[in-house]
Symmetry: C2
Subunit: 647 residues, 2 copies
């Protein structure tokens, strides 16, 4: 824990020293075999307080107890404090939680908590390529790989493992789901030994590694002539190779697979089902307790824009719902939160309500691919809270599946080798919030944001409130100046940053808004493409009817005329204009709010966030003007309020 | 001349063997010091005929005569034939012309010609980078450079030099005008010695080399702290460095400079004029007879699309016209044919009619950047004939400036290391035509196309006519399915291939059509941006008035409502629809026409061109549908003829 040197550094993320907190005289007690946890606790307190005055009069007891394995309890005692865990990892979680609550300024006597995670697997997905580049990475390069091989700073890995364990992460997939020929070899030597060394660094923190594997590994790695999952040689390859992997890394968590997706090979190329593919690989790791995370992001990415029958959001359901119940026990279907692709606003994927006999992982994206790219402020906690509390069946919220069908929560991470991990320091809040909601989906965005601010910064209540307000409103602001009402995309192709209203309109990616002179959107109701039919009836009816459809998803489900009257009486077109004018104004307000925080947050953070908020403002104005001009050019109708729309 | 082996090969371009031509028994006579030309003549005849039967009865006399230096004469005599030249190079041109006319099947007794070029400098510009990549190259990689150094096949260079000399080219600039730090070093060792070796290969063919230099070479190469052209140290750098260059290559033609253009440094960065910049460099090469070709492609490439005052086509005139008469004698301003950038259709640059006391080069682009990228068929000869015969002042065509203000004709080449040089074999015709019109701008597209077909292929008259018709109509076809009426662009950003109607609409490149619900185009008349005021009054009036403005340039000069009645009574919108439906149909007809040529052209040519024509057809249909859908979505007005427009 070299970085416990007592200076504020963005590198410490939410594990910061607190200079104004009084140290408590105490003595840590723990059994001999809890040495590592004892040490983590000791170093954590030293980082926090600067020193620990030893006192036999107050004991901080670390112990194992009869709790669920990953659970912990924090209990103030008469002359001491007890942290108990159902396992070493549970105890470690307890220690970090205890440290965080202290860091937030809570009184040690009032800290009381008993907590267990609702899902078994809380997993970070890195989209790191072995050349060091991170796909959709906005915080520098990989801290695992460089130049097609493992190349890391051991100290940084340990710091990262601690950071992840402190928010309850217990699985990390280290390489991009778009596996190439080099990374396909991660499950074989010479890379496998390096992988085992890396796994050893994560192990004390209760974190097990996964790798993304190439569906065609039997050909690429094994030299076979097929990857057909029903081929005996292919099955043998996966078994033999997995035996090698588990011999080196007995607690290896398993494989992540992106198959039949965006030019990746998959079982369908061999006339097999997704279940055939997943089960063959799963059978190979089953004897070792391994898992296969099988992504459901399967759709036709070579669609012709002229084709109005094919509707991309319907694809995952079509591929996977009919296979419900046919996946092996150790297969977990990894389903993106929405049916499209991590947009600012989408409905919840209909797969969650329709898969009844399949273990599921929900996949979020902490990397802000479509949500500001860690330049523009965007608190994902706000989005996640909405998603998790979305009704997915009569009276049933999505989060009620946690610990039921949903056994894993995963996310594409937003980290890189930037000193502050996440490019925008405020984007650390998204990483923190992810771990916390993966552990406990009942936490609200407001709670998560406040927690992160309090444990990360030393600022006064006004400073906290300012940052809290900025983060809480950030998602709505970003949405309003970009592509609101669930219309999505309208971004620059490839980069996915900045406006380009028709950018994906004539492409092969299946993402069309079809804006014409009088209307915009795709009719996805039961009378349109039929997408709503993938939901339970009550939801289908709700989404089908334009008056009961949540307004914020209006243009996801309906094709709507510009003169359509919104709930508040404005036309859709005027709503669009207002949304963009106001959004850009609010982006300016964000910058102004941040400027009040000078000298209330560390100067390096102040400067770097300010620079990003300025870029956000430029971006917001560009969005405002391009979108407004686009609709003005289509309709010839001016803004009601006479604000400037460029020709 | 190893490739004189008598097989048809696309590598020979228009220097092919002719198997059905009868050999003529003759004896070549030439003075001892004309050995090289004698040899070229001999080898050319052997390639053509397979053999030369020696006969003292018929003499082919090669001789020097009292002609203009580069001129030649071809004269049938009683018992022989005389080729005379005003210089060795003139004689060489005569020999190649004689060979080409023989190749075209002409009777030796009837070949009579006396010809001199109208301009002194006929120059090819390579946009080759030293890493081997060619900017806007559609025929493979550089045949000069690889891996940041000279790396070429000497035989290929000689073949290329012969090919270029055979069409009268006498200057070749070997590197990209976008000079980088590596190619900035071409004027210094270690590259300079390599450059001198290359120059020696071209020398016997009458071709002198140029290089593109970096305006900031004083800093990059010289290590100075400024490139200010009025700085004494900078002047000294250019003088000293040029002395080194001319010591190595005494007949070096000079430098090509792209300054203050698209992120390149230039004199304006130092508060100096374009003349200050050009003259400083020109002064350094003047003592050696060197030239500076100074490009006029200067405009604001960081325009805000909201800015309707700035009008990109006006930029070159604004920068250069006020400086008329202030450039040194050995500065040649290199002006693109049109005021924008090598579009399918543009007016002629107003600089040609407005610079009265400045030596000019007209710059064409043989590389089909915006004209089909050597996939789609596009005969540039057709475009060039139109440009050269365009009225630029009362009763005065552009070509009348040849040999007057216009002293050089230059073009960005379409060659690369593909076996056939130009990717699409039919694109060789553009390269051939360029050399020929640079020599003689009075040649018509039809003459040029027919010449090339006849000397390149051995086919019957029907085959000739088919190809001729394909080439002659190709430009109109391409124009009709892409962005007609002078509107330009509408292409995919960066690649510049394929449709993207709004692709450049909100960018910083200054190229906007501003299509709205009711109209399209930019008003560039004297009442609009004022661009027409850059032309002489008669032209200004012609372009200003929508009824006298050439219809094919309607949308270049005017903003026009979709319901505007074209000359034939159709609305502009219907014209757009018709143009795109018919263009795509004609693209199909091109493919069908080519298919009739199987077994009438060599099979390799037949196959590769057919494959490209198929790609062209796909491209044409994509253009048709995207453009039609775009306008339908904007207007809601259907095609009069009820053809399919996709929603």
């Amino acid at each position: 824990m070299e970085h416990t040197r007592r200076i504020y550094s963005e590198y410490n993320a939410w594990l910061q020293p607190k200079f104004y907190l009084a140290s408590k005289a105490l003595r840590i007690r723990a059994d001999f075999d809890l040495d590592f946890i004892h040490q983590e606790c000791h170093l954590g307190l030293i980082r926090l307080w600067g020193e620990i005055q030893d006192s036999a009069a107050y004991t901080l007891q670390l112990k194992m107890d009869d709790l669920e394995p990953e659970a912990f309890s924090l209990t103030p005692l008469i002359n001491g404090f007890e942290i108990a865990g159902g396992s070493k990892t549970g105890l470690l979680y307890g220690v970090y939680r205890f440290l965080n609550r202290l860091a937030a300024g809570e009184n040690i006597e009032k800290i009381q908590e008993r907590s267990a995670p609702q899902v078994d697997y809380r997993i970070i997905n890195h989209w790191d390529n072995m050349d060091g580049h991170i796909e959709r990475g906005y915080a520098g390069h990989s801290f695992f790989f460089h130049n097609h091989k493992f190349d890391y700073d051991e100290e940084r890995i340990i710091t990262y493992a601690r950071m992840m364990a402190s928010i309850g992460i217990n699985g990390i997939c280290i390489n991009n789901v778009n596996v190439n020929k080099v990374s396909a070899g991660l499950i074989a030597e010479p890379h496998l030994s390096d992988l085992a060394e890396l796994a050893a660094l994560f192990r004390p923190f209760g974190i097990r590694l996964l790798v993304s594997v190439h569906f065609d590994a039997p050909m690429i790695v094994g030299g076979l002539t097929t990857s057909d999952p029903l081929d005996a040689g292919v099955k043998e390859f996966w078994q033999a190779q997995s035996t090698v992997v588990y011999t080196k890394i007995p607690d290896f968590l398993g494989y992540l697979v992106k198959a039949d997706s965006e030019f990746r090979g998959g079982p369908e190329a061999f006339g097999r089902t997704q279940a055939d593919g997943a089960n063959t690989i799963a059978a190979a790791v089953a004897p070792f307790g391994g898992l296969v995370f099988w992504r459901c992001f399967v759709y036709n990415c070579q669609q012709d824009w002229r084709d109005q029958q094919t509707d991309r959001p319907m694809a995952a359901y079509k591929h996977f719902q009919p296979l419900d119940g046919t996946f092996d026990e150790n297969v977990i279907l990894q389903i993106k939160n929405g049916p499209v692709d991590f947009q600012t606003r989408e409905p919840v994927s209909p797969l969650f309500s329709s898969l009844k006999n399949t273990r599921e992982a929900i996949e979020f994206q902490i990397a802000q691919e479509y949500t500001g790219q860690q330049i523009d402020l965007f608190s994902l906690a706000v989005q996640w809270e909405e998603i998790l509390t979305t009704e997915i069946d009569k009276g049933k919220q999505l989060k009620s599946l946690f610990g039921q069908e949903i056994v894993a929560v995963t996310a594409v991470t937003n980290t890189g080798n930037n000193m502050n991990w996440t490019g925008n320091t405020l984007a650390q809040c998204n990483l923190y919030a992810f771990g916390r909601i993966a552990w406990n989906p009942d936490l609200t965005a407001k709670e998560l944001i406040r927690e992160w601010i309090q444990i990360t910064f030393e600022t006064n209540e006004l400073g906290c409130l300012t940052m809290e307000e900025m983060l809480l409103t950030s998602r709505g602001i970003y949405e309003s100046y970009t592509a609101p009402l669930g219309i999505g995309f309208m971004v620059n192709p490839n980069s996915h940053y900045g406006p380009n209203v028709d950018g994906y309109e004539f492409s092969h990616w299946g993402t069309y808004h079809r804006a014409s002179f009088d209307a915009i959107g795709v009719d996805r109701t039961s009378k349109g493409t039929g997408f709503t039919l993938q939901y339970p009836e009550s939801l289908q009816r709700k989404y089908d009817d334009i008056t009961s459809c949540p307004e914020e998803l209006l243009l996801f489900f309906h094709r709507v005329r510009y003169d359509y009257k919104m709930k508040d009486g404005r036309t859709l077109l005027q709503y669009m204009y207002d949304s963009h004018f106001e959004g850009a104004q609010q982006a300016e307000a964000l910058l102004q709010a941040w400027e009040t925080l000078e000298n209330r947050v560390p100067q390096e953070t102040f400067n770097s966030v300010k620079e990003r908020l300025k870029r956000q403002l430029r971006n917001a104005r560009e969005w405002r003007d391009q979108v407004n001009t686009y609709f003005y050019r289509k309709t010839g109708i001016n803004d009601d309020k006479g604000r400037q729309i460029y020709m």
